[in-house]
Symmetry: C2
Subunit: 330 residues, 2 copies
DNA sequence: CAACCAGTGGCAAGGGGTTGCCATCGGTTG
DNA sequence: CAACCGATGGCAACCCCTTGCCACTGGTTG
């Protein structure tokens, strides 16, 4: 089962193992004749170099680990897809870990993988800042949908995005919005709230917050009830899943969307364009976030110097206006 | 950056490297005193054993690769989730590869990973049988949503499931159904058609097939038009994505669902319960498929003997009846 | 007290590949 | 023809960890 090794090839080709190694790794270092013979023998034997053995010496594993805080959220799908594509393009292997919304699992898994990967891309990490900094001292780290001074990151531009949301709602006449917040240790939740509030203030909209809620459909009931109680006419949910749950609960309570209240989500997941009413949501090129994050990681992990400042990328967010937002009821 | 090694620990603890190794791998082999000292020094230094170096000797990488034929299909999400959970439970690392519906990419990626993983779980592999057999000669393989004599597999019970679909449609009075087939090299597509046809025949329903279609929403237009042309009153789409696209196109053409035609999908993806009309679909415990597949893989890859026959698991499928199917129009 | 033994720890080889350094070889140059 | 040179291939050490085997220790047994 364990395939042929460099030794088998060397013997069959009548050369030293070093020659076989070089035929693969430094093609210019051996003569054309020898190289071709070695390669012919290698393919005949079905030889494939072992990445592990290679990594042992070089320390480069050609592997990146992607950690997502909750794999059940379809939003991460896009991130994963983008990350996988970028990794594959550079012949890197992508390891996938689900942190199940648990900082402990996230940390443990990362530590387990430290000796085996070249770096980490962390999607919406739930870890406290100090943990992130500590990890980044062990291996290169790129954050997705989170920012932290000193660490490279790729996010959708939440400030500009939240402003779009508030502008949209204000233009429909809404004067009171409520943010249905995400998990307490979600950086996004804090940032969105800050951005929403400052945009709201600027535009003369009153903004309040309730929560935190785990961003699942099942939490929509509690969020909707709380939101109605707040008296706001515009509900901004932490993400589309929560928004969908909210809409379901509102319907159950005979509150019409968007006639009675407007609902906005985040992420623009696939289902948002299909549910009833279709969901107004802040989307963006999520796969591109995943792609970029891996790209940045590969770049810094292939640089000898770790000197230059961390690149922080903010991709534009796009407000997708659908049927869940409408003119405020007079 | 490359963390401390066993040598650093050995030196700091004043023992030989073999003792450090044993303190981790064979705790009973060293005295309690020594072990505790070693472990203390190790944690202090932040030592973590390198899985690669370990794998080099043992040949066991504690890693499984999961290959999905198309990561953009939300259905695979569930499989991935189940697989990841099961792998994590055994402290295995999960490598994720997207084959992008290309047999060539699938094959190349698998070959690239052969020396680095303990085995493969292949989700809806698009590879021809002979390739699968060849790969399984190199490493243990478990198929998901595909069966092949001699290879272990985990599937939803398509025969029984398709029968449920046809029974449901027949009970609503449908006498003509059309199967909107999936990709040519999809085992599922062939199997579903066979199962649908035989159930249809048995129940006195006329079944035809059109396609193949790539199972994406965007292909729904072509599928819907072809289906209408066939004159069938019941449309069975290869999966939910295609079904959703079909429904959209039907609405565009002012064909009412389910009043004029009924539509059934497969997979019961999240969006199926949200679209309008909600989609009748053949679902099942998909995460469980992923979980089981990894479980079987771990089991056979930890067995010295490769003798016993391949375990082929068929989990029950469940027809989820929603609003897209109704009584046939008289 | 000798013989024996279980419990521990160390030595060194090995697993698959890479690479610095040296030796060889055929060919150039003067 | 001698001196020299670039191209090429081999030797052996090294990456990090595991493990078979041996050596030593202190205690038990007869």
């Amino acid at each position: 089962m364990p395939g042929p090794t460099i030794y088998d090839v060397a013997e069959a080709a009548g050369v030293a193992t070093s020659t076989v190694s070089r035929a693969f790794s430094h093609p210019g270092r051996v003569s054309t004749r020898t190289r071709e013979r070695v390669l012919a023998v290698a393919t005949e034997l079905g030889y494939r170099p072992s990445p592990h053995a290679r990594a042992l010496l070089s320390g480069r594993h050609h592997t990146v680990a992607m950690v997502v805080s909750d794999i059940t959220n379809p939003h991460y799908f896009e991130l994963i897809r983008g990350a996988e594509m970028r990794a594959k393009a550079s012949e890197y292997t992508l390891v996938l870990v689900n942190a199940e919304e648990s900082p402990r699992i996230e940390y443990d898994q990362i530590q387990r993988l430290v000796p085996a990967v070249d770096g980490f891309v962390l999607a919406a990490s739930r870890l406290p800042d100090e943990n992130l900094l500590q990890i980044s001292a062990q291996r290169p780290v790129v954050l997705m949908n989170r920012e932290l001074a000193g660490l490279p990151s790729v996010v959708l531009d939440h400030a500009q995005g939240c402003r779009q949301v508030v502008e949209h709602l204000a233009s429909l006449g809404h004067r009171r919005l409520v943010y249905l917040a995400g998990p307490r240790n979600s950086w996004m939740a804090g940032t969105r709230w800050t951005a929403l509030r400052s945009a709201a203030e600027e535009l003369g909209v009153e903004a309040t917050r309730i929560g935190p809620f785990t961003p699942r459909v099942s939490q929509g009931g509690a969020a909707a009830d709380g939101a109605l109680h707040s008296g706001a006419t515009a509900l901004v949910a932490h993400n589309d899943l929560l928004a969908i749950g909210v809409v379901q609960r509102l319907r159950q309570r005979s509150v019409r969307v968007p006639e009675d209240v407007s609902v906005v989500g985040f992420d623009d997941i696939f289902a948002s364009s299909l549910c009833t009413p279709t969901l107004t949501t802040l989307g963006g090129a999520h796969a591109e976030v995943g792609r970029s994050a891996v790209e940045v990681l590969l770049q810094i992990s292939n640089q000898p110097s770790r000197s230059e400042p961390a690149t922080q990328i903010a991709l534009p967010a796009e407000l997708v206006i659908r049927d869940s937002t409408g003119l405020v009821r007079r």
